[in-house]
Amino acid sequence: MLRVALAGLRARKFRLIATAMAIVLGVGFVAGTLIFSDTAKAGLYDSVARFGRNVDVVAQSDEASALAGPAFDPTILDAVRGVDGVAAASGRMSHRLPVLDQRGKLLGNAAKPGTLVFFGDEPSLRPFDLTAGRLPAARGEAALETKTAERGDFAVGDTVTVLDATQGRHPLTVVGIVGCGSAQAVADDAVVLVTEADLAAIAGETGYYSVVATAADGVSQRELAERIRAALPATPERDLRVSTGKDFRFDLVNTALTQFEAFLYILMIFAGIACVVAVFVIYNTFTILIAQRIRETALLRCVGADRRQVFGAVLLESVVVGLLGSAAGFALGVGIAYGLSQGMGALGLVAEHPLVLTATPVGASLLIGTLATLVSALVPALRATRISPLAALGTVAVGPVQGVRRRLPRIVLASAIALAGTGLTVLGTRQDGISMTPALLVIAGGVLNFLAVLVAFPLVVGPLIAAIGWLPGRLLGMPARLAVANARRAPGRTAATTAALMIGIGLIAAASVATATVKATVDRQITTNYPVDYMLRTGIQQRTAASAGLSVGLPIQLADRLGADPAFSVVARIRSETTTIQPAGGLDNGGEFRLASFEPEGLAKLPAIELRSGSMADLRDGTIIVSGDTPVGAGRTVGDTVRLTTASGLALEFTIVGLANGYIAAADALISWSDMAALRQHQTDNMIFIRAADGVSPVDSRTALLAITDDYPLAAVNSVAEVRAEITSVINATIMIITGLLGFAIIIALIGIMNTLSLSVLERTRESATVRALGLTRGQLRATLFAEAMLMALVGALVGSGLGLLYGQIATGVLFPGITMVTSVPVGQLLLQIGLAATAGVIAAVLPARKAAKASVVTAMADG
């Protein structure tokens, strides 16, 4: 029987290539993700490890991260140096301060505006390598981190400017460039290495965030850590953690990994989707192969093969195909991983590192690929065992037309699953709160409903094809009508083929609808909440500024100067403050609650803010208007009390006098101008809303605006039009990435279409010859197959889009609880996707169609 199976494999190798292709692509994606993951982690380890180079023991504050944290006073370094067994020790300082590029604009981003660092004088303990120039040796000198220098286009000899906490400017001469390695920590920050004296002077701080030490020969890391711990006892004002260099490196990598791993998980999910689609394709191929081999199998049974042997032969075949496909898939995965790490390395998203090949991806690839194939072949193999020996005696002159057996159980099963799926979905949408449960319920419901569609699909695919094929049938005549008839003849086969495509297209459609809805919602919020032309904001996040003790507000003179300019008709100041809502329990953002306030003169000139209930006129001291769309605002009504505490511990109480739609000036709530003044230490502005005067062109108003803001490096200018464009581009990028990630699944599904068609072409050799003899031209025969592929792709795409549309909308509703989403269906985009799927289907039919058309009529007729 082994020989029979292997001989069968050899004879059908071309038919199995498509099966193998599906496995190759699925496994390729999995292996690629795994290898890329290993490689990226190794790169990360390498680069992060520079912070731990030669470090045997590190003493740091409990909350210290790699680049920022509370400082220890300078005497700690001498204390460590004095410990027996310490060969060398270094104190590390860092301080978050805005760094400006050569045009005077912020070089970092809102979350990481810049960091000043000093890493000690001990060469062996420096966590960087000098790549150009020299290290800063005197005051007024600085070295820039490689990526920072690249971004700001700095070279040795240029001047870099650092702003201190009160926005005083400190120009420094760039004397060198250093590579710190760690992609995560420095990639988007602006890192400036200065002397200890400069850091102390500019930041106004003299402490270290950590002290690192190298052990003398013969002293173990653990031993030295013990000694240092004993010498530096923690005190109430100094929480101290002493760890070995090994643990330190491990922690560094782990911290860096957590962000990165989320990305790897997403990749893995998409790799999993590709594998599921591959399973469909493989299952379908084996089913068709078994159907085509009925005579042969029956003959084997006639000559004495028992059911077990028939079963075994099919499984053996699947294992061989699975193994070969997985091996090829692994090779493809190596290529994918190489491409990923090169591409992302070039973008600075991962540290560059040669490919890391461990045994895990090899094993996982072979196991996943082979198991997937084996599982896919199980049902077809069982079916093969049911072939009666009698089938060898029947004469089958033409390809079979299969009906759907067992209609009723199918309907019952599909209905039951759909009921459960719909139940879960409804349950998910009914739940509120900000936990993940509703989303998970909806996803589970969606998966179940998809399964229900799968079970019912063979029953409905025929009528669907007929309906969709009606118009082409009228337009193209006989070839299209033959295509409809052919696509309908084996509903199970067509259903499985199209379902594979349905998954990919459905997910893309869901993503399209979700992103379009988010965009429409954000758009509405922009129009209602920012009824202005420009918005000035501070270029640094409040949270970042607060933790670094920076005063980053917009100086009040800025709004004064803008107000004096006739180019602007409205200049409204907004001040804001972050507080904590009480009680904070159960809120996933820790109860963070942002308050904003408009200067009354400015507010008066702006269009009235639309409220869901209550009145703006009631906003006075002690009252508050809360956004009704936010998790905090949901469920509160006018008259309720809101209790808050400020960062400095002040307890506040407000009475709600109105509920607004969406966020107001990027805050959760509005309070009066005088209440805000009482809350804050710095009297600076956080935002300025600006409207150009009538008759001033956008170009002119922009020029006037920039002329003023150029004197204020931390003022970020947003035009509302630009914000819209930015959101659109982010959303387009999201769709492109998702489509790209689903590309594998879609290509596998298209291979499935190609596979089904080429097997069908083989099966219909005689029929094709007959219609050719009766007057179908070669071109028309090809058109028949193109039309059949297009119909299958269309059915998959249409049903997939329908499901995706539905769940895309439900999911957005659940993912943003409390927010009234503006449902938007990107009809054009969906139609385009469906059109592309149909076209891709036609492309998948090119090879089978060529093969069908090439056959000579006479030889095809002679084939039994």
């Binding site: 219609v771 007057g775 031209t777």
Partner: protein, 248 residues
Amino acid sequence: MAITAAGVRTAVAVTNVVKIYGSADTAVHALDGVNVTFTAGQFTAIMGPSGSGKSTLMHCAAGLDTVTSGSVALGGQDITTLSDRALTRLRRTKIGFVFQAFNLLPTLTARQNILLPLDLASTKPDQQWFAQVIDALGLADRLNHTPAQLSGGQQQRVACARALLPRPEVIFADEPTGNLDSRSGAEVLAFMRRSVDDLGQTIVMVTHDPVAAAHADRVVLLADGQIVGEILDPTPATVLDGLSRLGA
């Protein structure tokens, strides 16, 4: 079964046709200089031993296969020089086929199968003619059945209707009764005979069965790719006699 001498017209003329399969040392001379004409309105049977080239002759005469040399004229038009496309169009209306294995499309109903050549040519059937053919074949109550729901004899009758409906210049039938029992076979043959007599249809049929051949007006004998004789107004006895002389 006499043919009227007046107005004799040649439907298909095969002139010096040579068909060689393969090349060089493996070459098979399936047809070796065949000259034969099929008169319009006549029922011709082609007979000969297995492998003598009967099917090949039919395929070449019908333009399904190319000839190595020689020419084939259909209704006066040389078809050996036509492109595949032109040949295909020709087949839709000028040539009918009846196959041994029926070759109906399993996805189409009997009616759709019968109308297939006309559909391909985008022409409407003549309703009266359609009714007449269906009636003659006794298929009126079977039109909406698929081939799987029809017996072999019924399937072959559908195939006959399909071949006849476009009123082709000639119908080629390769062993049309080969897969049928004698009664169904006799029905099909009787129908073919009638369509020649009553409708003036031209039919060329390949058969191994002397009784079937006896339905024809003329039997052409083929051996080793050459025409080796002909029998006019055949009877089973004269056909058997002619065949046995081939063997000798």
